[in-house]
């Protein structure tokens, strides 16, 4: 795999291209490089890894987990070496923060959405699960594969999943683990030969589901608020709906937890995110044009030719009287 990572390239053509500052922006432009590790794909038993991370069927959050990334293990070249992510600063930082959160306990009725570089989100979740006195439900949302000449380094997150383990999964408050790489490079034009393995989150629980499960507060955890000021574009509509339903969202970064003893009543109130209407790349034709091979080009833009790039006719893609 040859990920296109950490290189500021000619991507600073316009500061506007990076605004607003969502979690994917700092990840894309200022991430610490990750070294190659020693583990080869052939050494990994995918079924073991999948078993470790899968939520039990009875867990109310199980329908939202995605096994997509984990299933790529069986399709990797046997001699592919997974990167070594454990030494990344953000990973170590995330572990420390997880221990602090565990010590304080997760406030009742709270869901955590960890939107950091993939290995950091994984480390946060695994450490939290092990350090908590009570169980948590870690929900994987990683929904694409690594590839040759890939746009984002999906194997980083995969490696973290391979090398880390939660305590027995499920039965506690939901902790959604997101990879902030997923929408990196916003309006940059992809090389036609690259595999654009970015993706959007399309399947977060609705406000109704949260309410049914007693969730009244969402903690949105990002790496660094100095470089991030709003939620990622693919969460905007979900968070807007949460807000409209009276679910409060607190947006905080690792430092805001790591540097102080956690007093939730203070932290949660001091970090309320006010989700404001804004332009989203997922509605912008430039985004689809910039990655024709990944997102489908101009015709895939919602509202253009009535389209969106779900043409398969499989699953929920339509068919019958419904089209295609």
């Amino acid at each position: 795999m040859r990920p296109r990572v950490t290189i500021p390239l000619a991507l600073f053509s316009s500061a506007c291209a990076m605004q607003p500052w969502t979690p994917s922006v700092p990840v894309a432009y200022w991430s610490q490089p990750v070294p190659e590790g020693k583990t080869e794909a052939a050494d990994v038993h995918s079924s073991d890894v999948i078993s470790r991370w899968t939520l039990p069927d009875t867990d109310p959050w199980a329908p939202y987990q995605k096994m997509t990334l984990l299933t790529s293990l069986d399709d990797m070249e046997a001699n592919t070496k997974l990167p070594y992510t454990d030494g990344l600063e953000v990973v170590m930082h995330a572990r420390l923060v997880a221990r602090r959160v565990a010590a304080a306990g997760i406030p009742e009725g709270t869901m955590i959405v960890a939107d950091m570089r993939g290995p950091a989100s994984v480390a946060f979740g695994a450490e939290l699960s092990r350090a908590m006195q009570t169980p948590v439900s870690l929900v994987l949302t990683f929904n694409n594969w690594p590839a040759e000449d890939e746009v984002i380094p999906a194997e980083e997150t995969l490696s973290a999943l391979v090398h880390d383990s939660p305590r027995a999964q499920g039965g506690g408050p939901p902790v959604f683990l997101l990879d902030a790489w997923r929408l990196a490079f916003r309006f940059d034009e992809s090389d036609p030969g690259w595999v654009d393995n970015r993706y959007t989150l399309t399947d977060m629980p609705t406000a109704d589901v949260l309410a049914r499960n007693g969730i009244k507060h969402v903690i949105y955890l990002v790496e660094n608020l100095d470089e991030t000021d709003v939620e990622e574009d693919d969460l905007h509509e979900t968070f807007t709906a949460y807000q409209g339903a009276g679910i409060r969202i607190s947006m905080m970064d690792l430092d805001s937890i790591a540097e102080h003893d956690v007093v939730w009543s203070t932290v949660l109130n001091d970090t309320i995110l006010n989700v404001q209407p804004r332009q989203l790349i997922i509605h912008d034709p430039r985004f689809y044009v910039g990655s024709h091979g990944g997102w489908g080009g101009i015709r895939a833009t919602p509202g253009v030719h009535g389209g969106h790039a779900h043409w398969g006719g499989g699953g929920f893609h339509g068919g019958g009287h419904g089209g295609g």
């Binding site: 939202y64 997509t68 694409n144 000449d149 589901v209 024709h292 489908g296 015709r299 068919g319 419904g322």
Partner: protein
Amino acid sequence: MSVKVVSIGGGDPLRVPTLLRELETRYLVWDAFVAGQRRVDLHPIVLPRALHERAVSVAERVMRDVSMVASRAHADPNERALYRLPKSAERLAEASAFARDDASLVRVDLLFGEDGDFHVCEINADCPGGHNEALGLPKLARAAGFAHGHDPTRVVPALARRLADLARLQGDRAAVGMIYATAYAEDLQVCAIVRRELQRLGVPAILAPPTAPVMDATGALGIRGVQIGALYRYFPAEYMEGQSNVGAIAQAIAAGRVRTLSSFAHVYTQSKLALARFHHFGGSIANVPETRDLLEISEDELRRDRADWVVKRAYSRVGEDVVVGALHAQEDWDLALSAILAERRAGESWIAQRFVRQQAMPTPWGPRFLTLGVYLLDGKFVGYFARVTPASHVGHDALVLPTFVEAA
């Protein structure tokens, strides 16, 4: 004769964690849940043998006759213009027609009508999906204890064998290029399951975006330096407009250096306008509801006989571009119709199709309507992709089920 859904053991077999895991990890169905709701189940549809034979016969005949009408567009520029495809798609179609590059995987969607017969509402001739469910659900139904009937679906292995054969026309080392929109997991899962099957056959296959294939110095098509003998296309032809490699792909096809599946030659059959042209030229099969260019039906009739009509964008790929009059209040229908007619008059292609009144069948979830997708590989039956819905419109609430045929 009737179709039925047979309950396996009266319970919910996908509650067995091993079966759900197998669905996700072995058959790569990563979207078994959408919005927290199950999108697939294992209680099978069981077709009486006679209905199975009827479905196969209708699908094969309609595909043959409608594609023959659609193929007029290859030779007749006026006919071609009616389809309103981008020039890039026309060029690719021309290259395929010229080279007799005509392999196809098609899914003909049949509605089970009140009259106990099947009626064609769609032909998915460009890049039909559903492979993973078609492969996995019958096997998991067996694992869950369903021991009756015959599983007639072999679309994935048959497709892989066909691709392997096409690639080998260019030599033993030629690979299969599999192009899809790489940012969508639901498209990746289709290509990934076919690639696994190709690997079992010893044929190399490369997953790549549609923008990746380039022509090498010898005139062959390649991806990342590997020669591609066959191109599996899970990407609509009209979406390729604007790609810088369209010329190279067309050139390689015309020169016989690569074979495609589905061939670009079938892009006209993909359009719902092909059904309208079929009727326009006097084609008549009882199982094809009357379909017309939207402007061929008077606006008064469309508004007055709302419950008799369905309007669809000719190249719609999703249910959102379909308006079923019977499911809408008059006011909503009138509003939608005004907007759609304006689009049509501005040059967009829309068709009107007679509404098919469907027969509800009993299922463990209550009465449901059946849309039976019939896969045809090079015009011959290779399996089913079945969905049931509470309303006569397949949308996000469709449930995908395995299909078996009653033993003789």
